[in-house]
């Protein structure tokens, strides 16, 4: 607006050049005409788009058996995508997994040892060898059969990005066209080999990627991992590693134009908003695949809910977050179903264990009593079919895992830390705090104030922390909530520049030791020794800690060691009990929310398994669920 004035000045200085006068009328007319055209064009596009979108939704609504489109919403928006799985797998389309590329086998959650066969039709263990047999009828979408070469090439390329499977094996060989044999390293339980192979390795076609797998590359990978088993530091400096880096650089430069998969669906196209998949008739089990098209929507969270509520999407799974109000609206819909499958991840409140006053166990325990965890969870996530619930005992394990590995006596003997301001007050007093004028004063005479830090991207947890801040304020501690943008937040946690923060989202593995290793006290977040944050204090718990049952150990190294050596069994149960007691007593971090996978589906156009079907809880990935559900005849169009 201020340039109205400036324009006046400008006009002041502008004289009317004589030659322009004649054409003025024409020019004004042209301006007017242009305006009219613009409006007409806008109107035309308007009506055109209305018509075509109506057409689209009709097609969806009247979908017959032969032409059904499943619209699946996911809360993982992609900013861009690539068809190269070895770049950063974050850019690799999520819709590809399970739909376009078959997994070898799917873990039956929460079991650590049983799997549903997919591309691997069967497998067997002979001593320290694991033989995996590929589905005999499996073909690639370019017509070639899936062979052992495909899997072996994939394994070697995975070696370039340090896939976990290579920490478990010494080598891999083909046994005929359709079988491979993996040889485990000494002392590695075979279950771990199965876990790492089936959970993390997806087979890609050698016709596309085989050209990168040279004999030299294989040699380098073998040499590197052989040396890394005993001398990781030296291996990282070895010529083999340098050669592997060079190979990876070359590999990531390759950008295929499309995906050549072996799964039941072909990728038709993909944008920043959606991916479209269509049934591939060459799939070995194509007879069971009854859904002919899948639209996979990637969105920010609120849009997923919108798509479900408006009937645009039929199904959503995986990191769905339905706020309580949306849950109640969704469940009023006659076709709508909502499941809350427990045990995906946990949310933790982390204390800066190295910084006063949180370096005092008593203060941390007082905080555990002062955080109204039940109320935080109920207000943010609701009570019915919630995305997160309060754990029974804050011991670093979600209830489901806890019950598998601890006895009920053990669980009951742990402290549940109910919301109890009286206990919190007496703990604070015993730590030298006192209350004056309704406010808590620290032993050094300064008022006790807290800044709760929260990742700005974790929108649902912000509500929970708002509730916490309000409760702490009324308890007499001046508390402010501050959210920090995602990457800066992580950097803050690593640097140890926080007081009390939130930590998410790990601790959902059915393997309790992995849960502890990934927790805030694990090596990634606590006295980190390797990686990008090497040398940073992070949580600052330890480094030497008296762990019940284990004595004085270096927490991070001990946990790193155990996850590689201990498979499901009695020893795992003993260790779980030790770590659970540590977390519960020392309170390095406070587990406050057990997340559940909210699965929403509508029976308007599709048949789904019954709400109590084990399929929902055993298959944790939405795409896998749609494929396995069809194979078992439990999911089909109406």
């Amino acid at each position: 607006m201020s340039f109205l004035r400036s324009l006046a000045f400008w006009l002041d200085r502008t004289v009317t050049p004589p030659g322009w006068r004649q054409s003025k009328r024409r020019r004004l007319a042209a301006v007017a005409a242009a305006a009219v055209t613009a409006i007409t064009v806008a109107a035309c596009t308007d009506s055109a788009s209305t018509a075509s979108s109506n057409g689209g939704s009709n097609g969806h609504g009247n979908g017959s058996n032969s032409n059904a489109t499943l619209v699946m919403a996911s809360s993982s928006p992609w900013t861009s995508w690539e068809y190269n799985p070895w770049t950063t797998n974050l850019n690799f389309p999520g819709a590809a997994n399970g739909f376009v590329y078959l997994p070898l086998a799917i873990q039956k959650w929460p079991s650590l040892t049983s799997f549903t066969p997919q591309l691997a039709s069967s497998w067997s263990v002979h001593g320290n060898q694991l033989q995996v047999n590929l589905q005999p009828k499996a073909n690639w979408q370019d017509g070639k059969p899936v062979t052992s070469t495909d899997l072996i090439d994939t394994l070697y390329l995975d070696g370039l990005i340090q896939a976990g499977i290579w920490d478990d094996i010494t080598g891999v060989t083909a046994k005929g066209d359709k079988s491979i044999v993996l040889t485990a390293r000494p002392n590695i339980p075979m279950v771990l080999v199965e876990n790492d192979l089936f959970n993390s390795v997806t087979t890609y076609p050698a016709s596309v990627w085989g050209k990168y797998v040279t004999p030299a590359l294989k040699q380098n990978v073998n040499n590197y991992f052989k040396q890394a088993a005993t001398d990781p530091g030296g291996a990282a400096k070895s010529p083999a590693y340098k050669a592997m880096s060079a190979s990876l650089q070359a590999l990531t430069k390759f950008a295929p134009k499309t995906l050549v998969g072996d799964g039941p669906y072909k990728l038709v196209g993909m944008t920043t908003q959606e991916a479209k998949l269509t049934k591939w008739d060459g799939f070995y089990d194509a007879d069971h695949i009854t859904i002919s098209q899948i639209t996979y929507l990637g969105y920010q969270q609120p849009q997923v809910n919108a798509n479900l509520l408006t009937g645009t999407a039929d199904f959503s799974s995986g990191w769905l977050y339905m706020p309580p109000a949306i849950v109640s609206q969704w469940t009023h819909n006659p076709n709508a179903h909502l499941l809350s499958v427990p045990g995906t991840f946990q949310g933790q409140i982390v204390f800066n264990d190295a910084k006063a006053p949180y370096n005092s166990v008593k203060v941390r325990q007082a905080m555990a009593y002062a955080f109204p965890r039940q109320k935080m969870d109920e207000l943010s996530w609701g009570k019915t079919k919630a995305h997160a619930v309060t754990p029974t005992v804050p011991d670093g394990l979600v209830d489901q895992v806890e019950q598998q590995f601890l006895t009920s006596e053990q669980i009951n003997s742990l402290n549940k830390y109910p919301y109890d301001t009286a206990k919190a007050a007496s703990l604070l007093e015993s730590a030298g705090f006192h209350k004056s004028g309704g406010k808590w004063i620290m032993p050094n005479g300064k008022p006790f104030t807290i800044t709760l830090e929260m990742n700005a991207g974790w929108t649902d947890q912000i509500s929970a922390f708002k509730v916490a801040a309000s409760a702490l304020n009324s308890f007499g501690i001046k508390t402010t909530l501050s959210t920090v943008e995602n990457v800066s937040y992580t950097a803050d946690l690593h640097r140890g520049s926080f007081q009390i923060g939130a930590f998410c989202c790990t601790g959902g593995s059915p393997d309790p030791l992995v849960d502890f290793e990934q927790s805030p006290m694990g090596s990634a977040n606590n006295f980190t020794a390797t990686g990008t944050s090497a040398g940073q204090r992070g949580l600052g718990f330890g480094p030497m800690v008296q762990v019940p049952g284990l004595g004085s150990v270096k927490v991070t190294e001990e946990l790193d060691r155990e996850i590689h050596q201990v498979a499901a069994g009695d020893r795992m149960k003993e260790l779980t009990w030790d770590w659970a007691r540590l977390v519960n007593q020392q309170m390095p971090y406070l587990e406050y929310a057990d997340f559940a996978n909210q699965i929403a589906f509508s029976t308007k156009n599709f048949n789904w398994p019954a709400d109590n079907s084990p399929l929902w809880s055993t298959v944790s990935n939405g795409s896998y669920l749609v494929v396995v559900g069809q194979e078992q005849g439990q999911i089909s169009p109406k």
């Binding site: 400036s6 009317t16 007017a32 308007d46 944008t271 992580t490 950097a491």
Partner: protein, 356 residues
């Protein structure tokens, strides 16, 4: 004349150089890096142990820049001079130039069309308002137009998303085109593009045209008050004749200049709207680069936006002498001291207030 042009071009190059340097150092000072971002994301996937995550990240980013900052800077400047913006960090293997080249058309298309639409509609409405200042219609429209020009465009976007994509599914929720449509000059693709662009364009235009209309009205009224118009009135020329010949022409000119200037700002202004509509333009990639700490992509977007602003300013500067010869030959000018012609417009972009 030549010295005028030379001066302008030299200034433009200088500004680009300074901005490139500034953004290089600013971006390098940001805490956090792409590796931390990737570690986060991998941890969220759940299957990997901490060590595996770190090993993977190291393998992928083993060659993250480790040279001293000044050497990185010199290399960067050198590369930019050759048109090489480096490789995107979050998309290994893809060059920044490639990503930007893919994003650019979408921003140019959506913002360009909205700019033209809001300009044309705004000028038309503004002229009508100035011509019939006293009418009730004008008062009402003035009210509406000032109201719209004060509404932030992202709030309009939120409302459009709600009413036109969710409640009534008239338009797609986001993206630039439908997945699976063959990309090229064919009708299904083009209509899909148009359909997807309607809401983003509307979000810009609904708030944008008001600004143009008000400026046009203001400028036309100012002209009405000018002496030569008074003289024309005194000469007894008809009202219609005066509006068209004297007022229209003179008040339209500065608007055209402003249009050229706001073209340069189109990339910067697209940040919010492209974010809300998942529209894969420059603003969208800039935010995604900031979120993932993809330095090279971030700087590529910055440099591009800067260059576009400088370039359109330069064009305006070079065209000015054609319109007003006094500028290139200061001795003819009134005040003796040459001053940049743009000094009179301190507010080139009407959309989004002073901060955009």
């Amino acid at each position: 004349m030549i010295s005028y042009v030379g001066k302008r071009v030299a200034t433009a190059v200088f500004i680009i150089f300074v901005v490139v340097s500034l953004s290089f150092f600013m971006v390098r000072l940001m805490p956090g890096n792409v590796m931390e971002f990737l570690e986060n994301q991998l941890a969220r996937q759940g299957d990997l142990t901490t060590q595996q995550i770190q090993q993977q990240v190291n393998a992928i980013y083993g060659v993250l820049p480790s040279a001293p900052v000044w050497r990185q800077y010199l290399e960067y400047i050198g590369h930019i001079c050759q048109g090489n913006f480096g490789t995107s960090i979050s998309h290994p293997g893809q060059s920044v130039a490639h990503i930007i080249a893919n994003a650019l058309p979408w921003t140019i298309f959506s913002v360009g069309v909205s700019l033209i639409v809001s300009f044309v509609v705004g000028i038309a409405v503004g002229t009508v308002m100035a011509a019939a200042q006293a009418s009730r219609f004008t008062k009402f429209i003035t009210l509406v137009v000032s109201f719209l020009s004060a509404v932030p465009n992202y709030l309009i976007a939120i409302l459009l998303i709600y009413f036109l994509t969710d409640t009534h599914r008239l338009f797609p929720q986001g993206g630039a085109y439908e997945a699976g449509v063959p990309i090229g000059w064919n009708l299904p693709f083009l209509s899909s593009v148009v359909r997807h662009s309607v809401l983003p364009i509307a979000s810009y235009a609904i708030v944008g045209f008001g600004g143009w209309a008000l400026q046009m009205k203001g400028s036309a009224i100012s002209t009405l008050g000018a002496e030569y118009v008074r003289v024309a009135e005194a000469r007894g020329l008809g009202r219609r004749r005066i509006m068209q010949s004297y007022v229209g022409r003179n008040s339209l000119l500065p608007q055209v200049t402003l249009l050229a200037l706001s073209l340069g700002f189109m990339f910067g202004g697209s940040v919010f709207i492209e974010q809300f509509f998942n529209y894969p333009g420059i603003g969208y990639y800039l935010i995604s680069a900031v979120n993932s700490r993809d330095y090279s992509l971030m700087m590529g977007c910055f440099v591009l936006i800067t260059v576009s602003v400088v370039f359109s300013n330069l064009i305006v500067d070079l065209l000015y002498p054609l319109i007003d010869p006094r500028i290139a030959r200061p001795s003819v000018g009134r005040k003796g001291r040459p001053s940049a012609p743009r000094e009179i417009e301190e507010q080139p972009a009407p959309v989004g207030g002073t901060m955009a």
